[in-house]
Symmetry: C2
Subunit: 407 residues, 2 copies
Amino acid sequence: MASTSASEFGINNIPYGIASSSTRTKPQCVTRIADDVIFLAELAAKGNFGETGVDLASIFLEPVLNSFAALPKAVQSKVRTTIQSAYEKKALGDSTENIQAVKLHLPLNVGDFTDFSASANHVQNAAEAILGTRSFPPAFHKYPPAYAGRCSSLFLSGTPVHRPYGQFIENYAAAEKNIIFGPSKGLDYELEIGAVIGKPLEAGTRLLTKDADQHMFGLLLVNDWSARDIQALEMKPLGPFNGKSFTTTLSPWIITLEALKAYETPAPPRMAPLAKFMDDPQAVNYNINLEVELVRGGVSSVICKVGFETMYWTFRHMLAHSTINGCPLRTGDLIAGGTVSGQRDEEHGCLLELTMNGRKPWKLSDGKELRYLEDGDVVRFTGMVGDKDSGIGFGECVGEVLPAKQF
Amino acid sequence: MASTSASEFGINNIPYGIASSSTRTKPQCVTRIADDVIFLAELAAKGNFGETGVDLASIFLEPVLNSFAALPKAVQSKVRTTIQSAYEKKALGDSTENIQAVKLHLPLNVGDFTDFSASANHVQNAAEAILGTRSFPPAFHKYPPAYAGRCSSLFLSGTPVHRPYGQFIENYAAAEKNIIFGPSKGLDYELEIGAVIGKPLEAGTRLLTKDADQHMFGLLLVNDWSARDIQALEMKPLGPFNGKSFTTTLSPWIITLEALKAYETPAPPRMAPLAKFMDDPQAVNYNINLEVELVRGGVSSVICKVGFETMYWTFRHMLAHSTINGCPLRTGDLIAGGTVSGQRDEEHGCLLELTMNGRKPWKLSDGKELRYLEDGDVVRFTGMVGDKDSGIGFGECVGEVLPAKQF
């Protein structure tokens, strides 16, 4: 049940999602304006999108957004303006339901999920928390580090997160570094934004950074839940695996690049010259104001406020880097940028950074100490561009931590 | 075009694949006996599998094996014996075509591809080639290391492999370790076996190692092509990414666990006690004799012969480990075991090991020096259990190296 405010979904937003209801039992493509969820296949069946020349009545009945995401940007743009105009003319008829009456579903069939580490602040903060020194990965000035994530454990916002079991070193300070098996003691969130691939890229195509926007359908919120103790033991030699693959949470609404156009902002200056295919004088970030709210024992604390424009590497860079070896992109692929972090404590996008891997407790609003996530904690991400009246919201990406499952 | 010999596909094999032909233009499910490719939907339409109570005529028309792989083992077993008996009674009618007349296709829709590093020999050989000392990853005695691979770049045997572009350090020996951009100079293969998931596993289900066979449909050959120079620069901190994601090659035939049952062999003894869920006194490997043939300039050299029974971690262990955190398995998921290697040079399953990262050339059969792969090289993997007359073959997994694409 989405509890985000209607004002985030003004007529300049037009996000896309998948919903069903008691009368529309088949999950299908929708958009949302204020608290109205609009079932797009019905709008299409009434001939609204005839000018596009595309059989949108069928495409919008599909249970994921992939086919719509793959359409040319010009078609998507026409759909957007048609929805806006139908809403303004009050011509939506009976194709809407209130947000409270619908059930939202995972909006995509994700064939590959790549998670980058694109924030210069995050990599330095994390290095400080783990190694004790602020440092960069060896090639960070040339390309953003990345790993492939797990697709079968992508879940929709609202899905609870069971504390994962795993094997880890309980006490790194002890002389004997025994590996134990049990529920993780270092459960963390990672505040991220993901980009969804629209137009695919064939194997072996050279994609220049400056052309990468053509392949992005839109953005959404991502929580890359991480078990730091399980992860720590697997980083050498192959990188994150079981420490991440238990759950990744996606927000239900995809915000299109067209809607975000007005909120583009230049990427930070480069630390070093780049390879030609990566060079992008027009590189843009988006001015997305992100927040992390933690609810523990009924008490809410905002534990992070950070802007997405702090990211060193842009999604354009990420797409160009991940395809320069010939790797194809498919519609629905998810490219997440990694933890968004600023330099100040209150801008840190995960607890590894905020609490220095649990060693330096953070004070919650009731004065209690936060180190890592406890059972019962609720973590809520929100994102917003522009101001409260005319801006655009991402909705929320939320999850409650449940105890490790008993077997 | 599969050039493997008919004798590998005797009546004890009954592998599954996907094929089309000039008369059967839609890719669909097939098996193979000797040189006959049997179109299974036609066999089903004639009522052959009626006893199973499953609509196999529809399932076998699908363009991937996923739905068939998901069926209960008892149904799959009945299908196997029915095919064998129809073949023996010469009751296949006109549902077959010669292997030379069909086109084979990628047999699976792979939702997630995980690549393990399950060979104790490989991890030590690789450590020696890179670090100069034979050593184990920190948790190797407790679980097999793994990373998530890329699904969009899984290709069928026979697909050529373009040398990938990337960013890497050209000369680690130089004082200035400059990162350059260009075609990889360290292109390698990795000789692997993959397991295909049949019955899915729901999120949060505890899977004991000893029960994991229930979820495996069968095995196939995998070439996890690797660009060692691109990979080397990305190992810290997040592990392999662009160095692997350009191409992974799969053999066309999936050999069922039922066919391999007679070739089970005990797993090697454990180096250390395991967590209870990983413990598996019945842990089995398979006696698969693997070979790597390299054809360079028209000259063939067999550059590796190694047995799969050398693997320290079994597929059972890999499945249990990768799901202990609650991660679900879906039908069609691919779990590869990583490079298969013995201790002796001629048992090394990749060039990183065989040539010590290109420093120690290997002599090909014409006396020429092999360091890493050159443009025009053809790499062919084969696998066989049992003897030449009654044994079972995996067919081949082959790829030719083409020059880096010009842009």
